[in-house]
């Protein structure tokens, strides 16, 4: 409170060559894994790509959520770190590129990731259901919706960062109100677009499954992994010598609280989705879980997934000192990021089909597909490259933001 904070670290970020090389190496790993995975089938390769592109698209979406929520609640504590989520937003155009690569899957007739793209009529209920859903799930609709999402998201990114930059020059409080006014309608846009994008890119891999919780489930995963990524990016900047006093243990404590809360929210939603389907016991819904319950996927879906996404993060971050200790915070963040991969992997990769007895059975097994994480590493490398490049373009501290002083002296 009364302790003075002296900010003496550099205000301009320069992207160190070593980190640049690490990012490029990660991209190389990702592309190599993606290329090699075609040996296993195009659906496996594009499945991995769908996981990776949606996983990483979650980071700029998280940046959007973070800025919206803090603007709407007139929060001040985040101002010293707000350049990082703002830089995350600059990934949207590159994210569109990764979704463009995902759309190449439509060129494949065999081993199609999205069954609804080239539906084959087997004359059974499964085919009928898919043709029934074709009003929504069709290629032009998919491309059109993708265009709409990215126009909206990029518009948000442009207006938000422009207002922030203008404030750097004139220090006018009206830019804060611009951001606040933008945040209100985009809170709704964010909720709807994340739900529909999650349905398009991830849920439609199993087009005959019904779940009314999928949108909020994706939102929970995005928020959890987003906070983990924000924490790790800030720790990287700290290690490079930036933001050392402006973003101190009090800010990290807040982020730790957010990570703990969002992990718990994820667990709540994850379990709700399972509980409702388990209780009502309707075949269209339970098929998804039966394919995972009776197979090796059980350990991934029902053990590893809640362990990484919730249990470990929760118990590591529960004591107050652990939220203020940057090492334990980093461990929890890494676990949450691994958990996000497991969460998407166990959804996209199994691709269940009905076996001879009519029971759902996964097409791919966990021990032959875990390497798909390589593609995620690659796209995360791409994301970090774009974000750190964007971070170079503006001062690291928004010193003329009216909440700046409050944020510098943030103390809990």
């Amino acid at each position: 409170m009364s302790e003075a904070v002296h900010i003496d670290e550099p205000e301009k970020f320069s992207f160190p060559a070593l980190v640049k090389i690490a990012c490029l190496a990660a991209i190389g790993v990702g592309l190599a894994t993606f290329g090699l995975s075609f040996l296993g089938g195009a659906d496996l390769a594009f499945g991995g790509w769908a996981i990776a592109s949606w996983y990483v698209l979650g980071f700029p979406l998280f940046g959007m959520f973070f800025l919206i929520i803090n603007n709407l609640s007139s929060a001040g504590w985040h101002v010293t770190m707000k350049r990082v989520p703002e830089a995350m937003l600059q990934y949207f155009p590159v994210g569109l590129l990764t979704i463009g690569v995902l759309c190449l899957t439509f060129l494949f007739k065999e081993h199609q990731l999205y069954e609804w793209a080239h539906p084959v009529d087997h004359g059974d209920l499964h085919s009928t259901l898919i043709s029934h859903k074709s009003k929504f799930l069709n290629i032009p609709g998919f491309l059109g919706r993708t265009a709409l999402y990215f126009v909206l998201w990029t518009a948000f990114a442009l207006i938000m960062t422009r207002a922030s930059r203008k404030q750097d020059v004139d220090g006018d409080v009206k830019h804060t109100f611009t951001q606040k006014n933008l945040a209100a309608p985009f809170a709704i846009v964010f909720g709807l677009s994340v739900t529909f994008a999650g349905l398009d890119y991830i849920k439609s891999v199993e087009p005959t499954w019904f779940s009314t919780m999928f949108g909020v489930y994706q939102f929970a995963g995005i928020v959890e992994s987003g906070f983990a990524m924000l924490i790790l990016t800030l720790l990287l900047l700290r290690r490079l010598g930036y933001l050392r006093s402006a973003v101190n243990e009090n800010h990290f404590h807040n982020l730790g609280i957010w990570l703990l809360a969002s992990a718990t929210f994820w667990a709540y939603i994850w379990f709700c989705q399972f509980l409702l389907i388990w209780y009502s016991n309707i075949p269209e819904e339970t098929a998804h879980y039966i394919a995972r319950w009776n197979t090796p996927w059980f350990w991934v879906t029902f053990v590893l997934n809640p362990l990484l996404n919730w249990a470990l993060v929760f118990f590591i971050l529960l004591p107050r000192p652990n939220k203020r200790n940057l090492k334990t915070l980093a461990i929890a963040a890494v676990i949450a990021l691994l958990g996000r991969f497991v969460d998407l992997w166990q959804y996209v990769t199994p691709k269940p089909h009905a076996n001879a007895a009519g029971m759902p059975e996964p097409h791919y097994m966990p021990y032959t597909t875990f390497w798909q994480i390589g593609i995620v590493v690659g796209v995360i490398g791409l994301f970090l490259f774009v974000t750190l490049k964007a971070l170079e373009k503006a001062p690291l501290l928004a010193k003329k933001d009216p909440y700046f002083e409050e944020s510098v002296h943030h103390h809990i």
């Binding site: 409170m1 009364s2 379990f271 209780y279 016991n281 529960l318 004591p319």
Partner: protein, 186 residues
């Protein structure tokens, strides 16, 4: 019992920052705090007084865990052990159905015990008389109360209080309740 309590040395302050600084100075001088009174929760006051980290978190954690155990064992006994129930064709031990109740009882018992634990630790209960020492301490004044034990050095304490702009400095005897009644008139 009242005569075993030490006399108190009080400093009355107008500003929050002066109070914080004076508290820090008193701690550095090695004085024993009876308490510091403020009209609202002052940020950083606990640290300035050198109070240890609250143990209430352990009450919450252990009672929450106890609530969870009560829920699972109670439901298992009632619906799977003593009289296995068939509800909607589920197995007699339908664990997923227990989870919401486990969660609810964890939160309920954890929350209630936190409140009761807080009351116990602060020794407050309905009908307890407040010891305020100054009529305006619930309004716009801060009071630092130092115990006058062996380590106490009155001239030094006076000096610290004066340095940090104390409005009023006074000593109260071991009968705090009488002092409070007197203070109310002052």
């Amino acid at each position: 019992m009242a005569d075993q309590r030490p006399d108190l040395f009080l400093g009355v302050f107008r500003e929050q920052d002066h109070t914080l600084e004076a508290t820090k100075a008193c701690r550095e001088a090695g004085f024993t705090f009876y308490d510091v009174f403020a009209p609202y929760a002052v940020h950083g006051l606990d640290r300035a007084m050198g109070l240890p980290f609250s143990k209430i978190t352990w009450v919450t954690f252990l009672c929450g865990a106890m609530g969870c155990i009560i829920a699972i064992s109670g439901m298992t006994y009632v619906s799977a052990w003593d009289w296995p129930l068939n509800i909607g064709g589920k197995a007699p031990f339908p664990f997923p159905a227990f989870v919401p109740v486990m969660f609810e009882l964890t939160v309920l018992i954890g929350g209630l015990c936190t409140m009761l634990g807080l009351f116990a630790m602060c020794r407050i209960f309905p009908g307890k008389k407040a010891r305020l020492f100054h009529p305006r301490v619930t309004d716009d004044r801060f009071v630092i109360a130092i115990e006058m034990d062996e380590d106490f050095d009155e001239s030094k304490c006076r000096e610290i209080f004066a340095q940090h702009h104390a409005e009023e400095v006074k000593q109260v005897g071991p009968d705090y309740e009488a002092a409070v009644a007197e203070g109310g008139a002052a």
